[in-house]
């Protein structure tokens, strides 16, 4: 049975990923960033092994390129990153001090001189605030997914490799933490420790590493019986070396696919925390937090406080999910079914 992953059970969207063999067109030109996306993984094998994956990398990139939606998604994410990081360089706005004249957004609706998307009920320029909040959403999403993946991979590989009582103990701990509804745990954590961007990255990673731990443990259980692992053992290779050099690089497909889905999940988790008021402390904000007064804003007819940000979240999350799906197909990974 596939594990219910992350916040909403991510793998549901790739379960039927097998059935369709991907026809690889011979005359496809593969853009560099696609290859990078398929190869340049945060936990990928060390540089020394890249020459052996060169041909494979191109194949993977081609398979990825077959998924038009995923390629579009990649473009969406690149555009979104440009919007959030490069945008503010050209579009200067005040995002720390409130402009009290603008606290009533009807004073400057979209199209008003100097405010293309209007202003928020807190007296900020909406378009500028979307860039400002997007930076936090994307940073926390990407970094917490990275941290969660690293922790989960190491934990799962150690548990799976050493097996026996250590495995039983480590996995029982995973079961226990996974049974706590994630938002309750997160709210408890951010209440006990004062919320900040770094803390949010850590606590979101802290509740998200459990699923990759299970996935990688499953992979490890099958990988450790392979001949090449036995061979390394026979030659006297130690556990740490086998895990680091042989098991994790071979589980990299599962890991990359998980990490991609986790970015989407992390962004949603941060948005939920921000919406509830437990996100980054003011004057910083994130996309979820920007929606927190959406009901009253919408009731007042201030649609620009609601739709643009909401659509940003949905777009980015869908994009990461599509890319995860395409990577799964490209890497021919089947989710661990147990």
């Amino acid at each position: 049975m596939t594990e219910a992953q992350g916040f909403h059970g991510t793998p549901a969207f790739g379960v039927d990923a097998s059935g369709s063999p991907v026809a690889v067109g011979p005359d496809l030109i593969v853009p560099a960033e696609v290859i990078e996306a398929a190869e340049g993984t945060p936990d990928g094998p060390a540089g020394g092994e890249s020459q052996s994956t060169g041909g494979l990398g191109v194949q993977i990139a081609r398979a990825f390129w077959e998924h038009k939606l995923a390629v579009v998604s990649l473009v969406v994410i690149i555009l979104m990153i440009l919007f959030c990081w490069v945008g503010p360089l050209f579009y200067h706005t005040e995002q720390v001090n409130q402009n009290l004249v603008l606290v009533n957004p009807t004073n400057a609706p979209p199209g008003h001189t100097g405010f293309p998307l209007g202003t928020t009920g807190t007296g900020f320029d909406e378009l500028g605030r979307m860039m400002y909040g997007g930076k936090v959403s994307l940073t926390v999403g990407l970094l917490s997914a990275l941290v969660a993946t690293v922790i989960g991979v190491v934990y799962g590989a150690v548990a799976g490799f050493f097996g026996r009582w250590l495995d039983a103990l480590m996995m029982r701990f995973v079961d226990i933490v996974l049974s706590i509804p994630i938002l309750f745990l997160l709210i408890a954590l951010v209440t006990i420790f004062r919320s900040s961007e770094a803390l949010l990255i850590l606590v979101i990673a802290g509740v998200s590493w459990l699923v990759p731990a299970r996935l990688v443990r499953g992979e490890t259980l099958s990988l450790r019986t392979r001949e090449y692992v036995q061979a390394v053992r026979g030659m006297g290779g130690r556990g740490g070396r086998i895990i680091g050099r042989h098991i994790i690089p071979n589980a990299v497909g599962t890991i990359v696919v998980f990490a991609t889905f986790q970015v989407a999940t992390s962004i949603l988790i941060l948005a939920a925390l921000g919406f509830l008021g437990f996100g980054v402390p003011a004057p910083a904000t994130d996309w979820g937090n920007m929606l927190s007064n959406a009901v009253s804003a919408a009731g007042n007819g201030w649609w620009w406080e609601f739709y643009p940000v909401g659509i940003c979240i949905v777009l980015v999350v869908i994009a990461f999910n599509f890319i995860g799906d395409a990577l799964r197909d490209a890497l021919e990974v089947r989710t661990q079914r147990r």
Partner: protein, 318 residues
């Protein structure tokens, strides 16, 4: 089967004990201790020492844990200093409301998702299949607060057919006796489950259709309807029961947001209010109780699983 059930119940018990330990340790991680949280930042050291002595916080941590554990069967979950009431007294009125909300929307999600999955399999690789796939992707990516607010804008503000939020004083049963006020919260919470369950249903049914027994049934001349509903669907439903058990923690998390959007006074809204007031005993008590409820819910799903599928035998470490 009895052996399986006993082991499964024991396992749930171990999980609950582990959660108790985690919650207890979290309560001891508060910077400055509970005394600082209750008495304020400027409390004098003597006041803090006195508080710790009276509350038993100066005894060794395992003694404190022991007192905490033996207090649990008597529902001693601590004291909410902000609401000046025992934590359990506050929770006991909130828990039934969340159970009613989560239960109703999960049943609704299943009732919608299973037929959706079946339709997608019957019409696979046709426009209907793609449209429903696209819809589930969008529902899945949409944060519950965005979806819920969207419903409020459309049905409460624009069409004015539904109230913005259900009455806060209503009994937990009002969700069934006066459904109109609860339609939006229930649908909001069900949306993501519908997306996830229908995707699983689709793939699980497609897997089942590829099995040998389907070919056998076809060879024996069973009609395609009988093959689909009599053979494939019954087998494809089995993994959904497990998925249900596994999804419960996620659905309960979703309830926090749904309750916040619609001001529905359940456990989710309680934990938010408690956290806003840094009422840590209440936050942790809520977390513990909702987790126990979730574990029991998953256990029930697993018991149903065994009842549905007599082939299941408990084996291995999972």
């Amino acid at each position: 089967m009895t052996g399986y059930l006993v082991r499964r119940i024991l396992q749930a018990f171990v999980v609950i004990l582990g959660v108790v330990l985690i919650v207890f340790l979290l309560s001891r991680l508060i910077p400055g201790g509970e005394a600082r949280a209750v008495l304020g930042e400027r409390a004098s050291p003597t006041a803090i020492a006195r508080f710790n002595r009276v509350q038993g916080f100066d005894s060794p941590i395992w003694v404190q844990f022991w007192h905490y554990v033996i207090g649990l069967p008597q529902l001693k979950l601590g004291y909410s200093y902000k609401f000046t009431q025992p934590v359990w007294v506050i929770i006991s009125t909130r828990l039934p409301k969340t159970l009613a909300l989560v239960g109703t929307s999960t049943v609704l999600a299943l009732a919608i998702a299973v037929p959706l999955g079946v339709i997608q399999v019957i019409r696979r690789h046709k426009p209907v299949d793609y449209a429903l796939t696209g819809l589930s992707f969008i529902l899945f990516a949409m944060p519950a607060f965005f979806f819920g607010t969207l419903l409020i804008i459309i049905f409460a503000f624009d069409l004015k057919v539904l109230p913005v939020s259900p009455p806060s004083g209503a009994s937990p049963f009002a969700i069934w006796t006066d459904p109109k006020a609860f339609i939006m919260p229930v649908v909001t919470l069900a949306a993501i489950s519908i997306a996830v369950f229908s995707r699983y249903m689709r793939s699980s049914l497609l897997d089942a259709m590829a099995e040998d027994y389907i070919r056998t049934a076809r060879a024996k001349g069973a009609s395609s309807g009988r093959v689909l509903f009599g053979h494939a669907l019954r087998n494809a439903l089995i993994p959904i029961v497990t998925l249900l058990g596994l999804s419960l923690p996620l659905i309960v998390s979703g309830a926090v947001i749904t309750e916040d959007v619609f001001n529905y006074p359940g456990m989710g809204l309680l934990v938010v209010v408690a956290a806003e007031n840094t009422d840590i005993p209440l936050v942790l008590g809520t977390t513990l109780v909702i987790t126990v409820a979730t574990v029991v819910g998953s256990l029930l799903a697993d018991i149903v699983y065994v009842a549905v599928d007599p082939r299941i035998r408990y084996g291995g470490s999972f």
